[in-house]
Every structure is written in structure tokens, then in C-alpha cells.
Symmetry: D2
Subunit: 366 residues, 4 copies
């Protein structure tokens, strides 16, 4: 199967370029009988939508999603769900200047080397605009997981450049333009972003995603482990350079006697593992963290080469996000939802026969 | 497809438990005409093999691999290659004590919850013993990539607990029991491991893997990006809790003007991206780093529950690795080789028509 | 992967219902650089289109296809190609009468039992309307195969009810409403169809498809044989109940000494095998034949049950094809094209290294 | 995924050549808790085994299967099941004579053209010897389907050359060397086969397979229809040239008013569809029929070419089946079992939520 499909039973296949007529995807394998309308998907699309504040790209898109199939009389039918978002604000002229040269840090060069030429308008297929369809498709998974299994998936901005954002107040996240869980730090973030925009520079970020209420048993060792598939799905998001599960890289300096999450009848006594043991969910919170690199689209001139391999200078005057991490939160939630949905269907397909001798332990005894 | 196959065109499907009669795998999709014998695979198997020093598990296995098909008159035929390693040292009595209880930090509990019961002998399918087949299969990919494309894949131990191992001397790696690239630090590692063994505790580690000579163009956006598939393959290794590509999490605090790898006719002016842009190889070194948690098998008692959910204590008297990261280097190399091999075949399948207007840039101008 | 995707490297994923707003598909894996426009796909869509003569359904659809992505400056980019056809003539009232009952011989009952309810408008997803997207997607494969490899794929109506259509005159096929290769029999077909329509009954048909110019080597034994994948693709067409490769069922009474296709330096001395040996193309014509059942939508009353399991009578007054086989020719061509395209890409992915000691034999010495 | 894996959730991946050390396969996705031992699989292997009568090849193989993983304390664990059969009777000298030439009607030429060279010993991978693993793997599916769902899958020889075998007496099938359902015709079959062997010629056959007790709802339109996947699986069996579902090619001359299977509260009033409507099982018997060509290995000389493309004569003095159809019955049963098993798991994975308003109709009212 080619590279634009994710999932085995719950599959999402995507198409569309930044400046083409439309973006779309097909969600195949959604169970029948789920109440679904465009409104159910629009909320997360609006959370991801550009131009929500002065801190993100000013490209204007309503990102209005249309459901073209797979829903009848308000419920999913079990047949493939076609989703479409038309592009509205396509200022291609912005991009003529980079038609003949490769923007450093972008996929211009690699697309050219792979395919022989490229759609240079706004990065074409490699544009983060594509993530709108991930959010739309993920919205279907999120709704199913929430309504049928009580699974809640939520993310937040954990760090922006040097600014670490804690403590974690879940209620604050959707009430500021940064998905920041620490309302006291919002003014600091705004000041930092304003300065960054003046410099014409950009910065990286960390986004955390947590799934609560995941039953034990999801994940297919030894390759399609739940953590391995999460790493795949999260690393596939534009600009992501690192993925951690649970304590992640902090495990390197940890002792096993401390790191291993002991168990008691009252529940687990820790969650260093991030809710996954041996590639299978344990019933604890699934915790993942991703690092997003600073965007490479800058007003600051960058050295590069053109189609003839000659040295050139590249300046991005077009609209861009000085910190792509800000809008990444709903995207990361969507990817986690798609993976959990797929693994839930795969698990019940193979293991519906299972008779357990033990009730799941409580997620935590703490 | 179920969870024990990796790859799309170059596929590896694996079976086998820690204490079953044998481990095996099927490598399907290897191009015909590659000179191949058991000896080609045994070298990496020996690098991974337990009992090579006092710092790893003392389980005695020769890990002798047999090629059962797919090779005729010393060359691969293009048909599936069946590989088999018989288990020799199966001291199941070691494990009877944990048949009725879950070792904390292991997959015992999750396998039980997923499948209803489990093969408790040495962790059954969840044992790192399974990684022997990854190394055998990866050996085929490594040989093809080296001989046909000049791609070299090598890994090393970058950190053991608190001890960071640098500078990097590639020649040193295979001349000490730790895959340590800094020979001066070997005595320090030995002292640390001896103390750790006395405590009955364990510690985590970091392993880096680098592929040199990878042509530009490998990777299938937007989901099957090369970095996404590497994250999947590396995270699927037992005990891995984090994956980084290039600068990884260091990108969070970086400015775009510094992080983006500028280009010149003489080559790239940096490799923060780790050789992958937009999910496609750039021709630079592919650089990945993984974090391995400390093993949870300890002589130090751990709190847990039994099959009835009652509180119990678990002590591991069996053989184990105080730092599983030590033996992880050849495994990480194998997983990277499998992913690169698969993506090379996928790429040439779709893109053999491509006529390029530009020769690849040199990997580095520095 | 769920059931609405076909192919491994060249994949087609489809959505859409008979009376939804639109049908669509995503073609992923098309090599870059292929000149492509909507006009290239419209020709075959028009051949399949209903209402071309009084012998097919009178539903009026222009079946105008839109390319939404994957093509830039007139050439494919190597990224997924989104295709869309909007439904125009949706006379849902036709179908209200069967909302509560199952049309015998249709998928109404099985969709209801599988999914719990169904989109009853014109059969919803099970309608042959869905085949429009197969023809659109197949058109891309046909163009690539023709322009890059010189492969021509053509089909024809070989039998309609009792009327066998031979001899075969390729030039005649597109000059009558039946894809009939024997112009002399067209009046007989018209008379038969007129009588059938008066009866309110329907009849079956046989369609043959032939691919000329296929190079030897396509097909992936032992399961993904070329003939096995053709059987899968052709049997997936609505109403198909049988698939033959080459001589097909005639092989039962044949002797091996006659049936085996002997070879000479001048070429093969027969083609009983239909161009496939051991699941791999031989370089001869690929020959397949399919049987299409008579449509079950009749004015003649049929016994059935309703949603409560009570006996009811079903009469189809809506528009339908008295012989669905008539319009099946371009669909069968499209499915063969998709399979050959996918196998061509898979083959060159795995076997580009092959150095042959022998030039392909001529397809035929006769 | 390469060509040696079948299935999506219940997958079988196979390896092995006719004259290699062993054949093997990996069955991944089998639900846990199924009682399983080698003895469960040996019965069907013995039914397929050569040398059971003078009418099949005299190659002597015990075809003893070993279970190498995935079973613990007599039950499947849910992890992959490794199966192995060692080759015993490898008389390679038989085949030296054809090392430099292509046997007409065999895969020698196409394997050579695809892969550049081939394992010529007994056809290597293209040998029907490979089907032993299909029978072993299918035995696991048959046992699960029978014990958990009450599905019985049985096949029989329906025609041998000109001799049609009816009426159908299920009890007779396993009491003669032909899987003949009409005991009265066994002497006629023996006489025919004796004459054929004297001629040194071979003949084709028809095998029918029926699954009883299949619940409605299995099959994943629009491509992975149950009939499409059955066609794929059955056409992948060596020597198969045609596949029919239900009435198959007889539908061509049928009228819709007769062919459509009407329904009543007492059940279906016919089964022309062979138990599949719209690609989904209806609850009636699943009925498939396959045509197997006569083997091309004959004592009668055949014209061919050698590796240099020069004309040569080929005579097969080695052991062979004058009618490969005779031993095909258990193979066809196994392939149907694998497909039904996979679709059962896929269906319950996606559709476990379904609440039906109607009990399944009885399979037949007749």
C-alpha cells in the first residue's frame, strides 16, 4: 500500500495540496451506527484553523468540512466516509519566487529529488495544510472512542522555545491561543511570540497528548505495538523530530527499581511506562510527548541552491507560523485517536473470545 | 495484516517464544541474485548474542541461524527466505515462580489482559529473545544495502545511565563489550555495571544509529514518511521509550534561523534534520537515537498482584541483562536496515521513471 | 486495511453511494511525470455512462470527473490523485417503496445483516454506480500502461444470454451500443433486448478482456499471483459470478499433451494459459473472461421479506439495466489495468536488479 | 506486503521450495484459547499427502507438521503460530535434465524471466509441494470455524476429465482415493486413470467446495468482497484456471426472474448466488467451484527452448500426478477456511456494535 493511508481496520487515506482546489480523505472501517454530522468535526478543525490569533499564519481558511458518503439519516453506515475541504485562500503569487529554488529546511529539495519535479505552491503536498484532513478524520475516531468507550484524548502545549508550561490545568487549555495549560504564563508566551515575529525568526515546541480511559489490551506485538504505531503516527506530523512514550528519554538515567511501575490491588504505583507495557495498553493513561522543530520559513535570508544547483538566497515573505507547535495540539490528538481506534478494532477482531480471570486494575493507586 | 509483519515490499514476519523450540522469520521481497549464506547473518547475531561478557545475561545460546528457503546455489532467488534459530538453553524452572503473578514493568499483565492467559516462560513472546530474528532478517537488508547501494548502517552506545559516551570513534565500537565509541570510558562502564549488578538493580541507556550513503528520495509521505517508519521500527524494539531523528528534542529550544540546514553547491551546511526532510531522505546521514528503559527484572523485590488480583512480591532470580541497552546496538541497526530496504524497493517501484534535473548535493559542505 | 482499497503500490481507495452527493476515489502510487487531464479519463467514463442507448438504464448522469490533486502543470506529481464525480440525477422517491423490504438477489438483506441498517436509496454503496470511480481510476492505469509500456487493454461482450458473439473484430467493438465484436449480430441483440424489456425480465452476459504487450515477469507468487489478483479484481465487479483465465473451465476435459502451451524460438505454440504461468505473466496476451448475472431489478414481482421478516412482494419500477453485462466492458478493462499497473510497480520494485540471460520469446509463433 | 502472505487479520505467510530442507509458514492473528496440537492438522495433511494411491505421484513424504510457537499448554496464545514440515524425499537428480530448459506449461520460463534464474529442482517455489503449508494453516482456521461457529467446510471432486461425478453423497467422499462423492463411479475413475497413466498423459478436473453454517455478514465491499477474496484464494492454487461462485457461468444464459434467489420467512427459495450477495455472506451455503488444468509434466515429449533460446525437447520422467485435481480437494477447503476466518475476524472487528432488527433467515426453505 502506498504512503498516504494509515491504519489496518480503521483506515484514513488522504489527498490534497496546499494550493490545489481541495483537500480530502476517505475514512474506511468506521463502525456503523455512530451519530455523525459535519458539526461533530468542525470543532477540532476550528481549533487547528489558521488565523485564530496574531501568533499563527494569517492565511484565511474556513476549513469547512463536507461529508460526502458513509452517513445516512445521521448515522454512519459502515461504508467509507468521504470528507472534503475546499481551499479558499490560495495566493499562489506568494510562491512564484521560490519556484526555481529550494527553501532550506523544507521538503522542496527532497520532493524534487524523489519525484523529479514538484508543486512549489506553498509546499504542495508537503504543506502542513494537509493536517486539516488528519484533524477531520481523527474527529470521527475521537467521537467513537468517547461515546462508545469513554476514552478522552487531550493535548496541550508543554513547552514553547525556552518556556516550560506547567502546572497542568486541563480547563485552561482551550481558553488561550496557545493550548497552554498554565494560564499565568500566557502573557509571557505572547511577549515571546511578538519578539520572535519582529526578528522574523521561529522557534520549536513540545506538545503532550494524553488518552484517559483506554482499556487494557490494545496493541499488536511484536511490530505493531501500540507505542510503535503511536510513534509512527506522531512522527508523521510535519516538523516532528522526536517522540516519547511515558517518561521517554528520562529513562536513560533511571534505575529499574524506581522506573518499573509496581502494582497493587488498588492500582499501579506509577506510570513511567506511559500506559503501555510490551506494546499493549495497561489501562493507565496513554502519555506521549512530541518535539516540533521551528519552521524554516523565515524573513531572515537563508542560503540555498536553485534547480541548476547554483547558490541562491531564500527569503520567505509569505504567511507562516513562527511556531508550528502552537497549532499542533489538535493534530496530535487526532493522530492518537486514529491509532487507538484502529487498534481497538483490531484487538476486538482477534480477541473477542477472551475470557479474563482478572478485572482490570485501577489505572492508579496514587 | 496482523502485528508480526514489518514492511510493505521487503517484509519480515516473525514467530517464536523465549522458551519454545525455536524462533523463526520469513523475509519476503528480497531481490534475487544477492549472494547469501548463514555466515553473512551470523556476525551480527554474535554481536547481539547473550553471555558475551559478564555484563549481559548468562543465558547460553549459540543463536545459530539456518536458511531454509529462498537461496539457491548461494544466491537469493526472489522467493521468501525462511530463517530458523533453535532455542537451546531453556531453563523453564527459573520461571515457575512467576507463573501465577505479574512481574512489574513487564508485559505479563498486559498479555494476560489482552489474550486471557500467557506463556509465562521467560516472558514468552514478549521476551527480548525475539530480537534475534530481527538481527538475522536485518542482516539480509544490511548486506543488500551495503553491496548494492554502498549504504553503511552502524550504531553505538551513546549513554549508559549517567555516563555519556563521546567523542565518537567508529573504530572502537566493536572492540569492547558495550559498543562504546569512547575506549577511554570502558573502565568506567565496567565499574558502573559491576556495582549495579551487586545492587541487583538496572539502568537505562541511549543508542544512536547512523546510515551513511543513503540516496535522496527514500520515504513515502504523508504517513509512511521515512522518519515515521523509522520511529515505528525503533519504538517496536523491547524497552524503547523514545525516538529522536537528527537533533530530536533539542529542536524545542532552537531558533529556525539556526536549526534549518542551509544548502550550498558544496553540500548541506548542517544536519539538524538527521538526513530527512518532509519524510524523505536528503542524501545526508540518517541519524536516529533511542532511549531504552532499565530492565524490570531485578533481585530487588517488587510489589505486584497475582492472577487473583492479590498483592504479592516478585523477585527475579533468573538470568537477565542489568542494562538491556548494551545489546540493543545490533538490533537498532537491523531495524533501520529493514526500513531503508523496504523504502528503497518502494521508491524504485513508484519512481523509477524519474528524470532528475539536478545531481544530488554532497551530504555535507563542512 | 479495510475493504475499499485495491492494490499494494498503485492503490485505489473508493467512496460514495448511488444517491449521495458524490462519488470519489484516491489513486495513490501513480508514478510522477505522466501527462494527465480530466479529458484522459472522460472517454472511458462515457463508454460506461448510462443512458447511451435504450438498452441501458435511463438514469441521466454526465459522470464528469474532477481531478482534485496530484497533478501539477499537466503532469502527475507522484502524490495521491483525488478524483470526484458529483451525482446529478438522484430520484430517491423511486426507492422509498423498498426502504422497508429487501429486493431479492440484491445486497439489501446482506448489508442490513452486516451493518444493522442500510442506505436503501438505489442500493446505496452496493449500487453499480460505484463502478464509475473504478473506470476513472483505471483510466490512469490504462494511460500509463499504454504510453510507458505499450500495453493495450481491451474488452468486449462475448455472449449476451443465449447469443454468442463471434468472430472477433476489434474495430467493431466501439461502434455499437453493446461492445459487440461481431457487427452482424447487432440487430439480433437489439431484438433480444427489446423483447426482454417488454417482459420486464433480465439476462446474463459474458465479457472478455485482453491485455496485449504485457512483459513477462508480472505477478507475485504464491498468493499474489497475477491470475489470483485478476480473479479478485474482476470478481469484485457487481454481478460477476465467475472468472476464467485463458481456456478456463475448458481445461477440465483437456489432455495435458494438448493443453500445455509448447514453446519454440519463434514463440509460444498456444495460449491455453491465458498469458500466465505459475502466477506470472509470460509475455503472451493476458486473457480473462467473466460471467455477469442477470440483474435482479425486475418489473416482474418477486417474493421477499420486510424488516420485520414478514413476507412481501417486491416490484422494481425504477430505472435499471436489463443486462448489466452491456456496460461492464469498460469496468472490466479498468480492473485489469489497475491490477497490471500495481504488479508492474511491485515487480520493478523487487526485481529491477535482474539481469536476464534470455530475451523474451515472441508471444506467439502462430 | 510481498506476495507470500494472505489475509488481513488472520494472515498466513509461507516459505519453502520443493527440494529445500523444509517448508514452513506463520499463522498470525489466530484468536487465543483454541485447543490445538499437531494431530489437529495432520488429518488434512494426510488427505493431501502424495502416494496415497497409485493415481497420484509416488513421491514419499510423511508431511509431518511441527508447531514451533503460538501454542502453550495445548491452547493458542494469540501470538504467531510457526509451522514447519521437513522435506524427506528430495531426489534432485530427477531434475538435472531440466536445469537448462523450460518445461512447457510450467512456471520455469516465467520464474526465469522474473527473477533472472530459478531453483529448477522440482519447480522450486512453484511446485505444488508448497500447498502442504496451505493445508496445515487452513487446518487451524477449519478447527476454529467448526468449534467456535459451527461452520463446516468440505470439498469433493465434481468432474475428472469427461467424467461428471454426481449425485453428491457427502459420506462417500473420504472413502475413496479421489474424493469422489459418487461411489458407483469410482471403478470408472480408476480405469480412466490407469489408461491415462499408460498414455503418459494427464487430464483436468473440477473441484467443488461448500461451507455450511456461515453467518450472514462476512465480506468487505467493495473490493474485499467475500466472493472476490475467495476467487483470489482459490485462483492462487496451482493449476487453477477458473473460479465460480454459486451458479457461476450458468448465469450467462439465465433470466433474472429465475436466477434471483427469492426470499420467504421460511428462508431463501434458491441459492444461485452461492451464499454471497453484494460480496457479503447471506447465511446460505457458500458454494465455489474451481477448474484445474491437466499437469504439464508428461512422458510425452514436448517442444520447448533452453536457456539460450534454442529449440529442445522436454520429457518428464520424474514422479507426477496425472490429475492434480485429485489431491486439490483439501487444498481448496483450506483456502476457503483461511478466507472465511480472516473475514470473520475483520467483520467482528468493525461491526461488533451492530444491533440487528431481524434474525437471520433460514438458509433454505426448500
Amino acid at each position: 500500500m502506498s504512503g498516504n493511508t494509515i491504519g489496518k481496520l480503521f483506515t484514513v487515506t488522504s489527498f490534497g495540496e496546499s494550493h490545489g482546489p481541495a483537500l480530502g480523505c476517505i475514512v474506511d472501517g468506521c463502525p456503523p451506527g455512530l451519530a455523525l454530522s459535519e458539526a461533530d468535526l468542525q470543532h477540532d478543525l476550528d481549533r487547528r484553523r489558521p488565523g485564530q490569533s496574531r501568533h499563527t499564519t494569517q492565511r484565511r481558511e474556513s476549513d469547512t468540512v463536507k461529508i460526502l458518503s458513509g452517513v445516512f439519516e445521521g448515522r454512519t453506515t459502515g461504508t467509507p466516509i468521504g470528507l472534503l475541504i475546499e481551499n479558499e485562500d490560495q495566493r499562489s503569487k506568494d510562491y512564484a519566487s521560490i519556484a526555481d529554488r529550494f527553501r532550506p529546511g523544507h521538503a522542496d529539495y527532497t520532493y524534487h529529488m524523489k519525484y523529479g519535479f514538484r508543486d512549489y505552491r506553498g509546499g504542495g503536498r508537503s504543506s502542513a495544510r494537509e493536517t486539516a484532513m488528519r484533524v477531520a478524520a481523527g474527529g470521527i475516531a475521537k467521537k467513537y472512542l468517547r461515546e462508545r468507550l469513554g476514552i478522552e484524548i487531550r493535548g496541550y502545549l508543554a513547552q514553547l522555545g525556552p518556556i516550560r508550561l506547567d502546572p497542568l490545568d486541563w480547563r485552561a487549555i482551550d481558553h488561550n491561543p496557545f493550548f497552554c495549560p498554565d494560564p499565568a504564563k500566557v502573557p509571557q508566551l505572547e511577549a515571546y511570540m511578538d519578539a520572535l515575529r519582529k526578528e522574523g525568526d521561529s522557534v520549536g515546541a513540545r506538545v503532550n497528548v494524553v488518552a484517559k480511559g483506554v482499556p487494557p489490551g490494545l496493541g499488536e506485538p511484536i511490530f505493531d505495538r501500540l507505542d510503535a504505531e503511536l510513534a509512527y503516527a506522531l512522527m508523521s506530523i510535519n516538523a516532528v523530530k522526536g517522540v516519547e512514550i511515558g517518561a521517554g528519554f528520562a529513562c536513560i538515567e533511571a534505575k529499574g527499581s524506581v522506573f518499573r511501575d509496581e502494582m497493587s490491588p488498588e492500582g499501579f504505583l506509577g506510570n513511567s511506562a506511559g500506559g503501555i507495557l510490551g506494546g499493549i495498553s495497561s489501562g493507565q493513561d496513554i502519555v506521549a510527548s512530541i518535539a516540533l522543530k521551528p519552521t524554516s520559513s523565515l524573513r531572515i535570508p537563508g542560503r540555498s541552491v536553485n534547480l541548476q544547483g547554483e547558490p541562491v538566497e531564500v527569503i520567505t515573505t509569505g504567511r507562516h507560523d513562527p511556531c508550528v507547535g502552537i497549532r499542533a495540539t489538535p493534530i496530535a490528538e487526532a493522530m492518537m485517536a486514529i491509532v487507538l481506534m484502529d487498534h481497538y478494532l483490531r484487538h476486538r477482531g482477534q480477541n473477542q473470545d477472551v475470557v479474563r480471570t482478572l478485572d482490570p486494575l485501577p489505572p492508579s493507586a496514587l
